[in-house]
């Protein structure tokens, strides 16, 4: 029996003193407290912090246990606590980013390896068949053809630029799989983004639309896509995301070509594209970059559309989006989204 004296205590993220304590502890373990954590717990021995862990969406992160306190089951206590907190928040399918050397520890805590970038990072999930089930699911939409391609898009919202890319890719393919990023971190909800792509591409017969869910540019596979972090971290996360794509998703659907839009602005997307050009050809997947479509001097982009929305010029977006998107933007349903953009805009 362990009538031990360890106490679990929720850190108030507004309390500077408590947060500094956590940051200093993580720094000792070569970690930092990411800016996007939503919940942090500390395990204390009396006044002494001996372990900490955090939650961000479906991801458990910033986990560390004092070396002197290892082997006392504190990691089990900590991770159990975080899992219960996630469950209360409605998240049951969970992910952990960790160093590959921590594999055994997290395996014993019920996490299973999805993919790793050797010597730097491993992505794990708490379901032994999580990715396998996802692959089974997308395989149901497997279509046969000679040239099978893929494009992954966020479309926040769907513009003529996106449509141009899809049309071009579809022309060069027998089948084009479109994966819509399913993370709710964009101004437009995933269901809306999906619907606008669906409505705007009705004239194309050789495309298959997928919901990207947890394994394609999600906050699990690619957290730095949503929070801007250091270059090296971005590269590692991009590698992990592409590892999943090339090892699981592409083989499941026979994908041999991936189309991407040229990215003149966003450094994270540019890094991602650069790494893709290294990673995918190694597994026989060709990467095709399509230049941006221009209207006058403007390269069409979703951020340009959002800028007009933010400035209150929804009518100016008409030149840059398909008719279906414009109809949505001027509908009642779009009002709360537009209001939100006008309050504060996100990057993606």
């Amino acid at each position: 029996m362990e009538f031990e004296h360890f106490t679990e205590y929720r850190i108030s993220l507004n309390n500077k003193k408590e947060v500094e304590n956590i940051k200093a502890f993580l720094a000792l373990h070569g970690l930092q407290l990411d800016s996007d954590v939503e919940y942090t717990v500390g395990v204390f021995d009396g006044e002494r912090l001996v372990a900490t862990g955090s939650i961000c969406g479906k991801v458990l992160k910033c986990i560390a246990v004092d070396k002197e306190y290892q082997g006392l089951g504190i990691a089990n206590k900590l991770v159990s606590h975080l899992i219960h907190e996630e469950y209360q928040r409605g998240n049951t399918h969970l992910f952990i980013f960790t160093k590959p050397e921590n594999y055994t520890m997290f395996y014993e805590l019920g996490f299973h390896k999805i993919a790793e970038v050797p010597n730097s990072v491993m992505l794990m999930e708490n379901h032994p068949a999580g990715i396998k089930n996802f692959i089974e699911e997308i395989k149901k939409q497997n279509k046969s053809g000679q040239k099978i391609s893929a494009v992954i898009m966020n479309c926040n919202p769907f513009t003529l630029g996106h449509l141009y890319l899809i049309e071009k890719a579809a022309r060069e393919s027998d089948i084009l799989h479109i994966f819509v990023v399913w993370e709710e971190r964009s101004s437009f909800p995933a269901e809306v983004r999906y619907r606008l792509i669906e409505e705007g591409t009705k004239h194309l017969s050789n495309i298959v639309l997928h919901k990207g869910k947890d394994y394609i540019i999600s906050s699990a596979t690619f957290p730095t896509y949503f929070i801007k972090e250091y270059q090296r971290v971005v590269e590692i996360h991009a590698s992990l995301d592409l590892e999943i794509f090339r090892s699981y998703i592409a083989p499941a659907l026979g994908i041999t070509k991936r189309f991407i839009g040229e990215e003149p602005y966003c450094p994270v997307t540019r890094t991602y594209n650069r790494i893709m050009k290294e990673y995918l050809p190694q597994k026989g997947i060709e990467v095709v970059e399509i230049p941006r479509l221009h209207r006058g001097e403007n390269a069409i982009s979703a951020s340009l559309v959002r800028r007009y929305i933010r400035e209150g010029d929804v009518d100016k977006t008409q030149r840059f989006v398909p008719k279906t998107t414009y109809e949505f933007l001027t509908s009642v349903e779009a009002e709360p989204i537009i209001e939100m953009i006008q309050r504060d805009d996100h990057r993606h």
Binding site: M1, E2, F3
Partner: protein
């Protein structure tokens, strides 16, 4: 002799590691808690856990007590439904304020015992009194039901109700302790003292146990195995007490053999209360192993 209840050890109801070994530390009773140590979101889990543990684990004769949630909470009724069927020795009612609280619990236990084919009266009751109103009503509570075997004072909630906090000398709960004792003694049931929550303050703990024993409590609730031994030591009769008691009992035996009505020892008369006390001392000495009855001596 009556059952010893010197120590009743709290065991959080949702902790399997503690539940499975709770009986090995030597406390007289173990109390599985479904109430304050279990968060609202884990009430169901703790109920299933304690239920299954009681049904399966052999606690080797150590008295089992379950503190349920009050019948005025959303969890109380189902706690009873489950726990009575698991047949612990005692169900402990929290925050008892009036005799009706005991009667309601008694009635519910009877109904469940009946449904489950458990002999009526198998599961005993114990009431924790934790508020000013409860203290005022303590005698009415203590004699409310034959099922009730003990009352206990719960000081943490009581001091809050009294708009004060606990101190080491316990002056703020002296009246309440005395009242609970009076009620228990008048009703002929056990009286148990509250917990001492600073596990690291051994001296403070020992002082409090001495005070509780001197007041007349039968025992104390403990929250950590480390607190068991000190209580048992304090409740163990001294050699001097044992010797005195043996002489008292021998004098009685002799008087009985002679058929003499008045018993005296060292020139003093021995009456009923002195004999009772001597018997209690020897019983306790035997149970705690500091006195071994010799063959054929037949003291009792």
């Amino acid at each position: 002799m009556g059952k010893l209840r010197r120590t009743m050890m709290y065991v959080p109801g949702n902790n399997p590691g503690m539940i499975k070994d709770a009986h090995i530390f030597g406390s007289d009773s173990i109390m599985f808690d479904l109430e304050d140590s279990v968060s609202v979101k884990e009430k169901d889990a703790a109920r299933f856990l304690v239920y299954n543990a009681l049904k399966t684990i052999d606690y080797e004769g150590v008295e089992t007590v379950v503190r349920v949630n009050g019948l005025d909470t959303p969890y109380g009724k189902e706690d009873f439904e489950a726990i009575v069927r698991a047949k612990p020795n005692i169900i402990r009612l929290p925050k008892t304020e009036k005799p009706e609280d005991v009667l309601e619990a008694d009635k519910l236990i009877s109904k469940i015992e009946d449904e489950a084919g458990i002999p009526s009266g198998t599961v005993k009751l114990m009431a924790a009194i934790e508020s000013a109103l409860g203290i005022i009503n303590s005698y009415e509570i203590a004699k409310a039901s034959p099922r009730l075997v003990a009352i206990a004072i719960g000081a943490e909630d009581f001091v809050t109700d009294m708009k004060t906090t606990r101190s080491l000398d316990g002056v703020e709960i002296l009246v309440a302790r005395s009242q609970v004792l009076l009620a228990a003694r008048a009703a002929g049931i056990y009286a148990l003292d509250t917990v001492f929550s600073d596990v690291n303050d051994e001296e403070g703990f020992i002082n409090e146990v001495k005070l509780a024993k001197q007041l007349g409590f039968d025992g104390k609730s403990v929250i950590n195995p480390r607190q068991i031994e000190p209580v048992h030591q304090i409740y163990t009769p001294t050699q001097n007490e044992i010797e005195k008691s043996i002489r008292v009992l021998e004098a009685i035996e002799e008087a009985e053999r002679k058929g003499s009505g008045v018993i005296s020892l060292d020139g003093k008369m021995i009456d009923g209360p002195i004999v009772d006390r001597a018997r209690r001392v020897i019983d306790l000495a035997i149970v705690t192993g500091v006195y071994v009855e010799e063959e054929g001596e037949g003291i009792a």
